[in-house]
């Protein structure tokens, strides 16, 4: 249902906003022709792309493609884009779904790797800061966390490339994407910098959230009780303190990971990674509706799935949520 609403909203924004601004079907089509196209070519393109059809018909055609597939004339013949078909790009004329599937491993590699780094470092920093409240470590790490939240990724990304790749030569060329299946070591080496840079941005929020949660939890009566019972400090902190703090962290993690899987636009653009985020940016710049629709639907699906997983994980982290 959510995907349906998202697709209608995207479709409406694409077609209704230009119309409200006074654009005709030919004006819209003129974005998808060559530099030297004359009026006839533009008009033919508008007809070929179906811009003269009522909006409902155009949307119906898109939905039909998802369930039945789409036929397209590529010149020497006609090819079928099998269901589920998200249509063909207005600009590159490539089918959208294979393009997206091709990019998912890149975005997945980036998002999951970064997530591991930011969760480990963010939560660990938050716990230690809470336990050593007011110490140099607490102040320093929270200062760094503040910087992490404040600095935009296109700044930290370029600076980290200049230092760690160009000056120190510690990491590989990120732009040279190598799949995990081909060479895991190069894959990890090339992605190290995007992971750390992205994690720097996110870890900050997790550190601050964990610290706040831990400070509150560690002051609870049951923590005092646990200590009074003679439990080791590690057990008190991890089993009783951290576990209770993790629920809001997990909620935030679900949202963040879902959003990132739907496209880390800035990170992928900064590091020239050809993932879904870069694809989304290019699609928006070119007003390429089928590509924008595809990205939007995939991103929405990722957010739904990520939230579902998080909901399931609540029960693992917090026994109070379990049904039985």
């Amino acid at each position: 249902m959510l995907l349906f609403v998202v697709s209608i909203a995207t479709f409406a924004i694409f077609f209704l906003v230009p119309r409200l601004a006074g654009m005709s079907a030919d004006d819209l089509a003129s974005r998808y022709v060559g530099k030297a196209a004359n009026e006839q070519v533009i008009h033919d393109t508008a007809i070929r792309l179906g811009f003269y059809d009522p909006l409902l018909v155009q949307y119906g055609r898109f939905v039909k493609g998802i369930f039945v597939g789409v036929e397209r004339n590529y010149g020497p013949g006609v090819e079928l884009c099998p269901a589920p078909c998200l249509g063909y790009s207005y600009v590159t004329q490539n089918p959208v779904l294979p393009d997206l599937l091709d990019r998912i491993p890149i975005t997945l590699s980036l998002a999951l790797g970064a997530a591991v780094v930011w969760v480990v470092f963010g939560v660990a920093t938050g716990v230690v800061s809470a336990l050593r409240r007011g110490s140099f470590f607490d102040r320093f790490s929270m200062g760094i966390a503040l910087a992490g939240v404040s600095l935009p990724i296109f700044f930290t990304g370029i600076v980290s490339l200049a230092i760690f790749r160009d000056q120190l030569g510690l990491v590989g060329d990120v732009a040279d994407w190598v799949p995990f299946s081909e060479d895991p070591l190069t894959w990890a080496n090339n992605l190290m910098l995007p992971w750390i840079t992205l994690a720097f941005l996110y870890a900050a929020g997790y550190a601050r959230l964990t610290r706040a949660g831990m400070l509150e939890t560690m002051g609870e009566d049951y923590i005092r009780t646990a200590r009074a019972k003679g439990l080791p400090e590690r057990a008190v902190v991890v089993k009783h303190g951290l576990r209770a703090t993790l629920t809001p962290v997990l909620t935030m993690f679900g949202l963040d990971l879902g959003l990132l899987l739907g496209g880390a636009v800035l990170t992928e653009s900064t590091f020239s990674l050809p993932g879904i985020g870069k694809y989304a940016r290019d699609a928006i710049e070119r007003n390429d509706l089928p590509q924008v629709m595809g990205v939007t639907l995939v991103a929405a699906a990722f957010i739904i799935v990520a939230n579902l997983i998080v909901d399931l994980l609540y029960a693992v982290v917090d026994p109070r949520v379990r049904l039985t």
Binding site: G34, D44, G143, R165
Partner: protein
């Protein structure tokens, strides 16, 4: 507490110092990519503009190229950008080509697939080319004239291949032929192109055009075997006739070319096959790409203007880096259209007042100054183009900041001695155009011409705003900031789309304001002239007439600022492309 604060401050300062030093560093002297900067011979700024830098005939290795975006297409029948045409010659051969040498000789057309330039008959309406023998595709199949005919025929279909130029659509006597996709199996119906034998091809035009050899240079004449044509999917693997062929094309991500084993240098005096392979990374972050170029990790940046604004600062201010850079003139002029549809610009004297009052020095600054922006333009036609003749009707050389007195005289003659108000438009996404509008606001303000500045989105600038005459008139757009680059360095390729009044339509215009029957007449004369010298003389007259009619205020003949890593061999700026010649480049 004090100690803690100090410690924090020291740590932060140290971290900041690392960041700042890293940002300020870089340049061309540090290399981790095998550039071997310490042994590099010293070079000179602009050395590549006039001569071949680092000549070498060594073979092997890979040439690494990087692009901020993507090619419009790598299908030779579906591309329009200069860098795409330059790149396409690595794997395709058109009928003619520009000689790949530095300097003015690089503007000379020579035979490529054809033995020589075309032979005009019928007063320039028929052009015949003889193909070289022994040219093969990458699979060893011989190239025939029928493949060239098929290639041009398929490029006519703008539904399937929308991006290429429309010269063949506009000039061939097509008699209703619409391309082999819509008219399957009817290639013989295309009477405008005849192939009397496997090595002869004849083009029939609707009307005489003396510069047809320039059309023959377009990648659309590169042969395509009909059996291998996959229409809009042909870009996935164009079949090679050049020294390199496609090994991989991951669309929008990466291209890998390797040596074409069936390319015979004996049939191709203009190309070399030095590197073993060529890799192009597509869709790169431009600032990062520039950094990689400066540090030698990338050998060539593929685009038409060179390094971007951030890297320009490093290139122009650090002599160690600047020695490896070239400020290359491009066939492009930055200018502002003066709209005769908007009063009082219907009066030529009011238009001339603008021509005199504009401060060209400030406008040159808006585009980045002489190195990164370009030279002050004395007329519309770029000075590097074939047939350029120097004119300076508004005395710009003597008064680059403008001639206020003359401007006031023209205003008086126009009946507006105290000036008037109008609107100037520019493209929002272009910082230089905004600066241009502001600069004109200031300089025209000196004579009482008040400008209201309005920005419009770049994507719709021509379709909905400045390029739509109704809109421009209704919204009082008296001045419209613009710029134009030639398709090829000859008058027709530059002027026709921007000064011929007959190309003006309801919307999406490239000619924003020039309506002068005398110019239209001169364009027809020049196009029909088969004698190059006489043709060029007429284009010079067009240039003069455009200046005299004062519909266009030109101010900068554009330059691109290009960087060649010290390890790059056989580098020079092609005067035709206005960028490095890709055919000769090597890393060995």
């Amino acid at each position: 507490m004090k100690i803690r604060s100090k410690a924090s401050a020291v740590a932060m300062t140290a971290a900041l110092a690392v960041v700042v030093s890293a940002c300020g560093g870089g340049g061309g002297s540090k290399s981790t990519g095998g550039s071997g900067s310490d042994e590099k011979p010293a070079s000179q700024y602009n050395a590549g503009v006039t001569q071949v830098v680092n000549p070498s005939d060594k073979t092997g290795g890979t040439l690494h190229m990087g692009m901020p975006g993507d090619f419009d297409s790598v299908d030779p029948g579906d591309m329009y950008y200069g860098y795409a045409w330059n790149f396409a010659r690595l794997y395709t051969r058109a009928l003619t080509m520009f000689k790949p040498v530095p300097g003015e000789e690089g503007l000379q057309l020579v035979g490529d697939l054809a033995e020589d330039l075309g032979k005009p008959t019928d007063g320039g309406k028929t052009w015949t080319y003889k193909l070289r023998k022994g040219i093969k595709y990458e699979d060893g199949t011989p190239v025939t004239s029928k493949d060239v005919k098929y290639a041009v025929a398929r490029s006519l279909d703008k539904d399937i291949l929308p991006s290429g130029p429309t010269y063949f659509n506009d000039w061939l006597d097509l008699q209703g032929y619409t391309g082999p996709y819509k008219m399957k199996g009817k290639l013989d119906d295309l009477k405008a192109i005849e192939t009397p034998d496997d090595y002869t091809i004849v083009f029939h035009l609707k009307k005489a055009y003396g510069g047809f050899d320039y059309f023959a240079m377009l990648p659309q004449t590169a042969p395509v075997p009909e059996a291998k044509d996959t229409g809009s999917k042909y870009k996935e693997h164009p079949v090679s006739t050049g020294p390199y062929m496609f090994k991989a094309h991951e669309l929008t991500k990466r291209i890998e070319l390797v040596k074409n084993p069936n390319w015979d240098p004996a049939t191709d005096p203009n190309r070399k096959q030095l590197n073993d392979s060529i890799e192009v990374l597509l869709g790169q972050n431009e600032d990062d790409l520039d950094q990689r170029l400066l540090s030698g990790k990338i050998d060539v940046k593929v685009n038409s203007t060179g390094v971007a604004a951030n890297a320009r600062k490093t290139v122009l201010t650090d002599p160690k880096v600047k020695q490896y850079a070239d400020s290359a003139p491009i066939d492009r002029t930055w200018f502002t259209n003066i709209n005769g549809d908007v009063k009082p610009f219907d009066n030529i004297h009011c238009r001339k007042a603008v021509m005199y009052a504009a401060d060209r020095s400030a406008l040159q600054g808006a585009y980045g100054g002489p190195d990164a922006g370009g030279d002050i333009a004395l007329s519309l036609m770029p000075s590097k183009m074939t047939g350029y003749q120097k004119i300076d009707p508004y005395g710009v050389e003597a008064n680059p900041t403008g001639n206020v007195e003359k401007a006031k005289e023209e205003l008086a003659a126009c009946g507006q001695p105290n000036g008037f108000s109008t609107t100037i438009s520019y493209r929002n996404e272009r910082a230089a155009e905004k600066l241009t509008a502001e600069s004109l606001q200031q300089s025209l303000g000196r004579v009482g011409i008040k400008l209201e500045i309005k920005g419009y989105p770049q994507g719709d600038y021509f379709k909905l705003y400045a390029g739509k005459p109704d809109f421009a008139k209704k919204n009082n757009l008296g001045l419209m900031v613009y710029g134009w680059g030639a398709d090829y360095p000859e008058g027709f390729g530059f002027f026709q789309q921007i000064v011929d009044s007959r190309v003006i339509r309801d919307a999406g215009n490239t000619n924003l304001s020039v309506k002068d029957p005398k110019i239209d007449e001169l364009i027809d004369q020049a196009a029909a002239e088969t004698d190059a010298a006489k043709r060029n003389a007429i284009w010079a007259q067009v240039d003069k007439q455009v200046m005299d009619s004062a519909y266009i205020l030109p101010y900068v003949w554009a330059h691109g600022l290009f960087y060649r890593p010290p390890t790059l061999k056989n580098v020079f700026v092609s005067q035709n492309w206005g960028m490095y010649e890709y055919l000769t480049l090597s890393t060995q």
